[in-house]
Assembly symmetry: C2
Homo-oligomer: 147 residues x 2
Amino acid sequence: MVDILHRIGVRTSSPQQVYEALTTVDGLAGWWTDDTRGRGEVGGVLEFRFPPGGFDMEVVEARPSERVAWRVVDGPEEWLGTTIDWELRQDDDYTIVLFRHAGWREPVEFMSHCSTKWGTFLLSLKALVETGEGSPSPRDVQISDWH
Amino acid sequence: MVDILHRIGVRTSSPQQVYEALTTVDGLAGWWTDDTRGRGEVGGVLEFRFPPGGFDMEVVEARPSERVAWRVVDGPEEWLGTTIDWELRQDDDYTIVLFRHAGWREPVEFMSHCSTKWGTFLLSLKALVETGEGSPSPRDVQISDWH
């Protein structure tokens, strides 16, 4: 089992805005993909769609300002059954976001792509909270022939 | 043992420019840090310096347009003995870069930070080759309180 890990710090006075950006359809649409639907509460399913396809995530944990966790219930075969979790904490002027996409069966090339792409979306989340404007799909950063 | 993985595609007609950006002091200074010294040939040591510190890498492999590998011989304790390798191949109009920073002993928070930071530097490498201008330190993308 191998994981994708990332860490960013969002300049803001409390984790509340980051938490909302991870648990509301409007927030998620502001940094990941315009085409986000569903429910961000525990037990809800969030549907994220991109030009080439999408992911359905079951929300398995949502502790305000502390932790959000999803399980992938539909999407590319490599993602099925993997989990994505977000740990939040406040360090002075920054909300620290620890991201983990865990449970990949093999370190396939698609995983390397997703690792880089997650990094760009985390910076989109940071920009959304700090400036009010992220870069969600379809205006996301293009990193390769795989977009 | 856990690894940091990334994948980018650089829009260019051959891997030659990416290879040069990984094996020459001028190339490396164009996307990672202005303050780069040393020798990029096998057996050489490359010295990368940043405001908070730096890394010394021994070049262990340099196969033109195919593969570059470094071993960390000086730097933060977590990096010592880890390896960084770059696989290159041409897919149509893109040089695909598969990056791996391997041999981390534990998935510490600093590893998560380095994962995100490596992603931004890979995009700096892509920009350097595609546009002639990267974002090396000290003009690098700031991702958190850890810079």
